[in-house]
């Protein structure tokens, strides 16, 4: 569906960075309140507050309140929260969100179409129009992209050194990866692992590269039906399953993520994005990143952060704040705090951004070879169904064949229910 041209996005962002600041705008005498809901942690809150400070220089009589949602249980719950706010008329004016939620929100008509806002903002005219394709629903733009995250293999260099395995090279294959994971698993006398080579992921977003690098995906290309019956999907699942049960290099994916164990040096490799960098730096871990291993290609998954304006909240002040929350200064802040990857190449060349990890340039290098995470309007249900069968298959409670078949059935049921409700909307 989308042939996102990452390179043109990147180059045009570079041009944008060259033209700093908005055209001079007189200070407004308007007053009012704006409520903002952003996602992330302390770093994102700081960036948001900086943007608000800049906004206040132009609209000094406005009060802006910020709520943060740490997305501790995934984007599904965030959707529930936001839709609950709209249902109870307690919604915010500006929302930070991610691509997984775009279709769900847009199809329910809770966000404003902002084509005119995007058109008249000089910053966005330099963005590749293809980028905004992702933010469209039925031909109208609803979100402004601000940052992105992909999935890389994060590995502990000290552990690699200890077993004298070479660091991952560019273009490494699934087999190279499997061998490395095996070598990095340390087992004690009774066969229990005291150190795992890899953490087979338990989150939808982290699992995607294993499908993409095999040239397949759990959903079809335009996210309208299940693709679980594709033998390549089963192949990817089998590969992960074997790493757990045949090689014993990974624990069975459970309820909790193992970021903390990774930071404590108990896991050698995990699939994560740029957001863990601040934690890694705090823990002073000797870590580096590598592009996920290839089989059919070296594609990895990408997800966008974006902001949208709630329906009924659009006015000049809100638009100005939205512009600040997606402008070049914010890009620079994002690069410096390291919570995500900034859209602007210039921001990505800032020394703070490149300081850590050692292979930081790799993030941007992957851009032409990324595909967005499947985000249909019923992504919450799709994600839940997929993870349910995925955990059953990874725990060896269900054969891969059965799992794919039943998942396919349930996913298509969900899609037909979605079509029904959209038909009646």
């Amino acid at each position: 569906m989308f042939k996102l041209n990452r390179r043109s996005f990147v180059l045009s962002s570079a041009a944008l960075a060259a033209s700093t600041g908005l055209a001079g705008r007189a200070v407004s005498a308007d007053s009012g309140t704006i409520k903002v809901l952003m996602n992330g942690g302390d770093a994102d809150l700081a960036n948001t507050n900086n943007a608000i400070a800049r906004f206040k220089t132009k609209f000094p009589n406005y009060t802006v309140s910020v709520d943060m949602d740490p997305i501790s249980t995934g984007w599904g719950d965030y959707v529930t929260r936001v839709l609950g706010e709209f249902a109870s008329n307690t919604q915010h004016d500006i929302y930070g969100t991610a691509i997984e939620t775009f279709q769900t929100f847009a199809s329910r008509g809770v966000f404003e179409a902002i084509d005119d806002f995007v058109a008249k903002n000089p910053n966005y005219s330099d963005f590749a129009p293809a980028l905004f394709e992702d933010c469209k629903y039925q031909g109208k733009i609803y979100f402004v992209p601000t940052s992105w995250n992909n999935i890389m293999i994060n590995y502990n260099r000290d552990l690699f050194d200890k077993v004298k395995v070479g660091y991952p090279k560019e273009g490494w294959t699934w087999d190279d990866f499997r061998a490395a994971a095996k070598a990095l698993t340390v087992k004690d006398a009774s066969g229990n692992a005291s150190q795992w080579g890899y953490e087979v992921p338990n989150q939808n977003f982290f699992i995607q590269p294993w499908f993409l690098s095999n040239g397949t995906s759990p959903l079809n290309d335009d996210w309208t039906a299940s693709n679980m019956l594709d033998p390549k999907v089963a192949e990817s699942l089998q590969f992960l399953h074997d790493i757990i049960h045949v090689d014993g290099s990974s624990p069975i994916p459970g309820n909790d993520t193992m970021d903390n164990q990774f930071l404590a040096g108990q896991v050698a490799m995990i699939s994560r994005g740029h957001w863990i960098i601040p934690n890694v730096e705090n823990a002073k871990l000797n870590m580096d990143v590598a592009i996920p291993p290839s089989k059919a290609n070296d594609y990895t998954v990408i997800g966008f952060g974006a902001i949208g304006i709630a329906k009924g909240s659009k006015n000049d002040a809100v638009e100005a704040l939205t512009a600040e929350l997606s402008g070049p200064e914010l890009e620079a802040d994002v690069a410096k705090s390291g919570s995500s990857c900034p859209g602007s190449k210039t921001a990505a060349n800032l020394p703070e951004y490149l300081a850590f990890p050692p292979s930081a340039p790799l993030y941007f290098q992957t851009l032409p070879h990324t595909k967005p995470v499947p985000s249909p309007a019923n992504f919450q249900e799709v994600e839940k169904i997929f993870i349910r069968y995925y955990t059953a298959m990874m725990a060896d409670e269900m054969s891969i064949a059965d799992g794919c078949k039943q998942a396919d059935q349930e996913l298509n049921d969900s899609f037909s229910r979605l079509k029904q409700s959209l038909g009646q909307s």
């Binding site: 249902a87 459970g254 955990t391 059953a392 409670e397 909307s425």
Partner: protein, 299 residues
């Protein structure tokens, strides 16, 4: 009417007035926050309700969907399985603990026991589950000590076979103190004369328990079973925080399904129908327990 009759009926009227007045606050709140919502839920279960997409009647479609969904069987079975295991565990262990503590001991020791066994009861299930989640992790504390003893690690929460028993184990740890306390008091109500007579007759202790003690406390045992069942059938946090219903559907209970469907997938009508089914199940099981009690419980 004679004078006394008039006074009596006047008294009765004023008593009735007072009676109704006194129960008004509780009954009004009960009506608003319990009965009315239940009625609304029943109504919702016959509809497709969506704040953004619009709502319409669907008759018995939601119920049809529930009873034809292959997952419903597993979810229903999980709920029953959990209830059976948890009730047995909680009541039995509680009774055993009560029997063990039903003897003379220094006051400070009794104080320590009451604290140790009752403390888990008053701590939130949400907190307890987070701690136990870490204990049960594949790379967690239990497996750490197992591997130190040279035993293979157990997939406590990631294997369908051990997931439910692990959750029940935590539930018993948390709730058995409550039942222990009830049973201690019940045991203290057994008349000493009868037990002492039996001892002098030379009745072995287990027979004393089975023939004398147990029948005497059977009303309390019955209450414990009913109370434990109602709680277990509604279990949510304990399972959600430990396994989120997984792996697959191995530990998903009806209450989890309701929350997921109603608040997660916005299938509010469907969620309501599952809630109604769950309530009917609770009423049914409680009813059965009452009928069975007529035969087994001695008052």
């Amino acid at each position: 009417m004679s004078n006394t009759e008039f006074v009596r009926s006047e008294l009765r009227a004023s008593q009735a007035r007072a009676g109704y007045l006194f129960i008004v606050p509780a009954m009004l709140l009960y009506l608003t926050f319990v009965l009315a919502p239940v009625v609304v839920t029943v109504i919702l279960s016959f509809a497709f309700y969506d704040p953004q997409f619009g709502s319409h009647w669907v008759g018995l479609d939601n119920y049809r969907r529930f009873f034809t969904d292959p997952r419903s069987v597993q979810i229903f079975w999980n709920t029953l399985r959990f209830t059976a295991m948890a009730v047995t565990g909680n009541v039995t262990v509680g009774l055993l603990l009560a029997l063990a503590l039903n003897r003379v001991m220094p006051a400070w020791l009794l104080y320590f026991f009451r604290l140790a066994f009752f403390l888990p009861v008053i701590i939130a299930a949400a907190f307890v589950a987070i701690v136990w989640g870490y204990f049960f992790q594949d790379s967690g504390i239990f497996n750490y000590y197992l591997s130190h003893l040279g035993l293979p690690a157990v997939h406590w929460l990631t294997s369908a076979q051990t997931a439910m028993p692990s959750i029940v184990f935590m539930d018993v740890w948390k709730n058995t103190g409550f039942f222990m306390v009830i049973f201690i008091a019940a045991l203290q109500g057994v008349p000493k004369t009868i037990t002492e007579a039996a001892i002098m007759d030379g009745t072995p202790s287990w027979r004393r328990f089975w023939r004398i003690t147990l029948p005497w406390i059977s009303p309390v045992v019955f209450f414990a079973i009913v109370y434990a069942s109602i709680g277990a059938l509604q279990v949510y946090e304990s399972i959600w925080i430990l396994t989120k219903g997984g792996p697959g559907d191995a530990t998903r209970s009806m209450s989890i399904n309701i929350v997921e469907e109603a608040f997660g997938s916005f299938q509010i009508g469907y969620g309501a129908s599952v809630a109604v089914v769950m309530t009917v199940v609770i009423l049914f099981i409680t009813g059965v327990q009452f009928i069975v009690s007529r035969r087994l419980v001695r008052y």
